[in-house]
Amino acid sequence: MSIQLTREEDPILTVENLQTSFFTDKETIRAVDDISYTIQRGETVGIVGESGSGKSVTARSIMGLVDSPGRVMGGSIRFREPTTVDRLARLFPKRTAEVDELREEHDLVELVERLLNGRHTASELAGEEYAGADAETLVRDGAVDMADLVEDGYAAELGIVNERTFVVRDGSEGYVEVTNAPTEGLRKLRGRGIAMIFQDPLTSLNPVYTIGNQIKEALRLHRGLTGKRATEEAVRLLEAVSIPDARRRIDEYPHQFSGGMRQRAVIAMALACEPELLICDEPTTALDVTIQAQILELLEEIQEERNLSIMFITHDMGVMAEIADRINVMYAGELVESAPARVLFDDPKHPYTQGLLESIPSRNVGGERLRTIEGDVPTPNEKPTYCRFAPRCPEAFDACDAVHPVNVDVSTGDANHTAACLLYPEDMAREDAVAYHQSRGGETAQAAPDEVNDDE
């Protein structure tokens, strides 16, 4: 069960149980409420949802850009990219855990013993099949490795690493824990490592500097290029995003660029930092379709050339279908369905996704009236002990008000498709399915079990 820090197929980004809340006088809004997903190298992962679904807050959490009164309350965001890890490890040695060094300095068996003598059990550390095993066995079988202790937080508990550790390095590999990173660390991570493109290119461009100067500034900051070399590189980047007559246009100001050209310039600026992950928050929403098509094509090209990972946020299902490999659907702060793009459009499982797709006019050509979803998106302001979609769900049944659905496997074939709905797994009897969700950690309302049994 040992998890190595980085394997070939390790995702470049792992988001686990992320929780971001906003605090107002009246209430706490759980804008992102316990979501988990991954992004592979070279993959485009789309996040769709309507306003209030939490999709943009998810992106901002990853960039460490959540502003007060918002705060990341829990969960982890791990960015696994060797050069970034090395760079940050060099800059923040005190907050870096070197797993190799820990292996040399400490006796693993002894550490595991201390954990077992404390309040931890073997099955907690290594899974059910090791229930009751002693430290010696766990270590001998490779069921627990130093890397696991660091990754799962035991190392901090044992006091062998700094609690504020946010870089973990194991040989040439490792990860950066974004949620633990200090402001300065986030600044170093942004741009180079993870870059973000917003809906309005003007938020990323300064009106008083030429496009060229802004790209050169990014080159200086992130890659130490200056002078003539920076100019050459800036021209090269503008050419790479298909801006004609780049050498001349580099001296122009943002207002002299059209909307589509500005977004290209912003992409060039992002590329100047040579990011590994590009987060795009509705980057084409403000653009016309023909220009949108140009930008989508450009992003696809760049991705292919650089094996870039892209997280793409949009409310436009058409755009999503065009660009995403995998789609995550968010509703009221939660991730309610995840599937490869084709599968999601072909065979949506969650009633919300189904309703959403049915309300798109283009999928209802000739249809008389559009299907609608009754009611409005709720504000997620309490811990869910029920399905947040229940008040609007045409399929809702009693248990939906009493049990919180968790994401369960709904794949047919090897699609890797999950949905958070009590109707699934489909092959189980209704009450078994509900029980299954409960056992998988679905929160349950007080006094709910009885109601659940009365269901039918």
């Binding site: 306003s51 070399r229 790479a240 050498r247 001349r248 002299q256 379709v289 058409g318 793009a341 959403l356």
Partner: protein, 586 residues
């Protein structure tokens, strides 16, 4: 021609079936700015009609003039030229009282429910406002059952327009009917009829205050648009986007218009909310027999809701006709490009995508010929150059576009200062552009050396790559700094852009890979630019490579049985139809 069609035609000529008839309409804005005093030609000569009870969609990209056109139809913008017939009368000539009366018939719903509602007014006040402005209800009276001269006294007045009167009184007897749209119980109207030989005098007393009638009307409207009566005293910020759009719709409907311009009414809404508003608009149309002009950039919404569609580009209608037909089988090259750019959610869809180059030209300085000629992928080529390959044409068109772009680019202050001081910068870099735009070719030997250099750089043997390039390419052949060039080459390869790395070298050391006759013209154009005469360069290129698309505006050709028209030269017999040209390209 079928009988029904025949019928429709005749009806149209006497203008009865059409509610709106637009002829040769132009709306220009006088341009500010010192250098550019050309007006913005937002709407540049459009003709169309809207039938009573139908929904005409108006689509196009931002800046195409669709919003200006919609606003001109309801006189929020003044027409520069042409006429807008509403029920046969040209509203562009209306003034004073006539405008005010007519405004009740033509309303507009705006895109942004956020900013179109005054946040300091309650919902009730917002919807009631137009009723107050027009002193609603008229309480006008139709007296039926008599040939004599009619006089109305008391709270009522004689109905003077073609609309149905609020109150109808039958004589003799004085039986009262109140029109559906007015929430006035008939028993609250008392009538007193006196007849003389030649006149009937009807005294009408209404025992409900106008104010109360208005409030009742507002409450009625709230339920009509799917809100609740108790929303009357709330404020806009207490509502969601969808609800605010319902408020905007209620306000537009308050005076019972016949015609409503819907300017991007659902663009700011989430899909699930958008679906509800679209359904509401359809219901209202059916219930009140409304005629819509539906402006949108989202083509799938338009396809869903519209009977007919007009596609606009740079102030012109490129194609107009039956919606299903147009979406299924677009005829105009612009419509075809536009439709192909819409991302589809249908996973089985594998349509051929047409990606347009560049952006639309400025409406201050539109092309002389066809408005789409600077970007059209199937632009007609002059016959003597028909044989040139696509790559070369792409180069030529891009080259022309760059020169045009340079002409119109709003020059920065320093640049203008430099130009005045004679330190011209605009014309520098022309060689660079030619290299960028046209394909270049190396000798076979050098091409192989390039392969080796790419491979070396890709496997991190930079020194070897440098050496290969250094021995095979002579720095003195190019005016560029050779070391910089090699540096860029290596960073391209490292970034994975092998193609760009190669063309970087090809551009500098290769021959322009275009037929000799084209090369000669390009060289001459470059000479002009070097001499500081970009104008001459542009003209030369236009003369040599331009076609009817550059010089003549097309006609609106009929392209289907149902009367759909398309604005394109390719529908003339001597040219290939657009779809054939697209087909040939792909």
């Amino acid at each position: 021609m079928s009988e029904t069609e025949e019928l429709r035609r005749t009806e149209r000529t006497d203008g009865r079936r059409d509610l709106v008839n637009v002829n040769g309409l132009k709306t220009y804005y006088e341009g500010g700015g010192l250098i550019n005093s050309q007006p913005v030609k937002a709407v540049d000569g459009v003709d169309f009609h809207i039938e009573r009870g139908e929904t005409l969609g108006l689509v196009g990209e931002s800046g195409c003039g669709k919003t200006t056109l919609g606003r001109t139809l309801v006189r929020l913008e003044r027409a520069t030229d042409g006429e807008v017939l509403f029920d046969g009368d040209d509203i562009t000539t209306f003034s004073g009282k006539r405008v005010k009366r007519w405004r009740r018939d033509a309303q507009i719903v705006f895109q942004d429910p956020e900013s179109s509602l005054n946040d300091r007014m309650t919902i009730g006040e917002i919807i009631q406002e137009p009723l107050n402005v027009h002193d609603w209800p008229d309480l006008d009276v139709d007296v039926v059952g008599t040939q004599k001269q009619v006089e109305v006294t008391g709270d009522g007045s004689v109905n003077q327009d073609e609309r149905e009167a609020d109150i109808t009184v039958e004589v003799p007897g004085g039986a009262v009917t109140v029109r559906d749209g007015v929430p006035l119980p008939e028993d609250r109207v008392s009538v007193d009829v006196t007849e003389s030989d030649s006149t009937v005098t009807v005294r009408v007393d209404v025992d409900v205050a106008r104010k109360r009638l208005r409030r009742a009307r507002v409450r009625e409207l709230l339920t009509t648009v799917g809100l609740r009566e108790e929303h009357y005293f709330r404020y806009p910020h207490q509502f969601s986007g969808g609800q605010r759009q319902r408020i905007g719709i209620a306000r537009a409907l308050a005076l019972e218009p016949e015609f409503v311009v819907l300017d991007e009414p659902v663009s700011a809404l989430d899909v699930s909310v958008q679906a509800k508003i679209l359904n509401l608009l359809e219901d209202l149309q059916e219930e009140f027999g409304l005629t819509y002009l539906f402006i949108a950039h989202d083509l799938s919404v338009v396809r869903h809701i519209c009977d007919r569609v007009a596609v606009m580009y740079l102030g012109h209608i490129m194609e107009i006709g039956d919606s299903e037909e147009l979406f299924e089988n677009p005829k105009n090259p612009y419509t075809q490009s536009l439709l192909s750019a819409i991302p589809e959610t249908d996973p089985t869809d594998d349509k051929q995508r047409i990606t347009l180059r560049g952006t639309p030209p400025s409406p201050r300085d539109p092309p002389q010929g066809c408005p789409f000629s600077t970007r059209c992928p199937v632009k007609i080529h002059p016959s003597e150059y028909e044989h040139l390959d696509e790559k070369t044409w792409e180069g030529i068109e891009l080259f022309r576009e760059i020169l045009r772009e340079r002409q119109r680019a709003d020059r920065s202050f320093t640049e203008r200062a430099r130009a005045i001081l004679g330190m011209e910068t605009r014309f520098s870099g022309i060689d660079e552009i030619v290299r960028e735009v046209f394909p270049h070719r190396l000798t076979q030997e050098r091409e192989q050396a390039l392969d080796r250099a790419v491979e070396a750089a890709a496997s991190n043997r930079e020194d070897e790559a440098r050496e290969i390039l250094g021995t095979n390419f002579d720095p003195s052949e190019t005016d560029a700094d050779f070391d910089d060039l090699v540096d860029s080459f290596i960073s391209d390869v490292h970034a994975g852009s092998h193609g760009q790395a190669r063309s970087r070298i090809r551009e500098r050391f290769g021959e322009m890979d275009v037929p000799g006759e084209v090369r000669g013209d390009v060289d001459r154009a470059v000479e002009h630019v070097r001499d500081g005469d970009e104008q001459a360069a542009r003209e030369l290129l236009r003369e040599e490579f331009g076609s009817v698309c550059d010089t003549e505006p097309p006609d609106h050709h009929s392209v289907s049985q149902s009367g759909r028209t398309s604005y394109c030269h390719r529908h003339l017999a001597e040219h290939e139809e657009p779809e054939v040209a697209f087909e040939r390209q792909s």
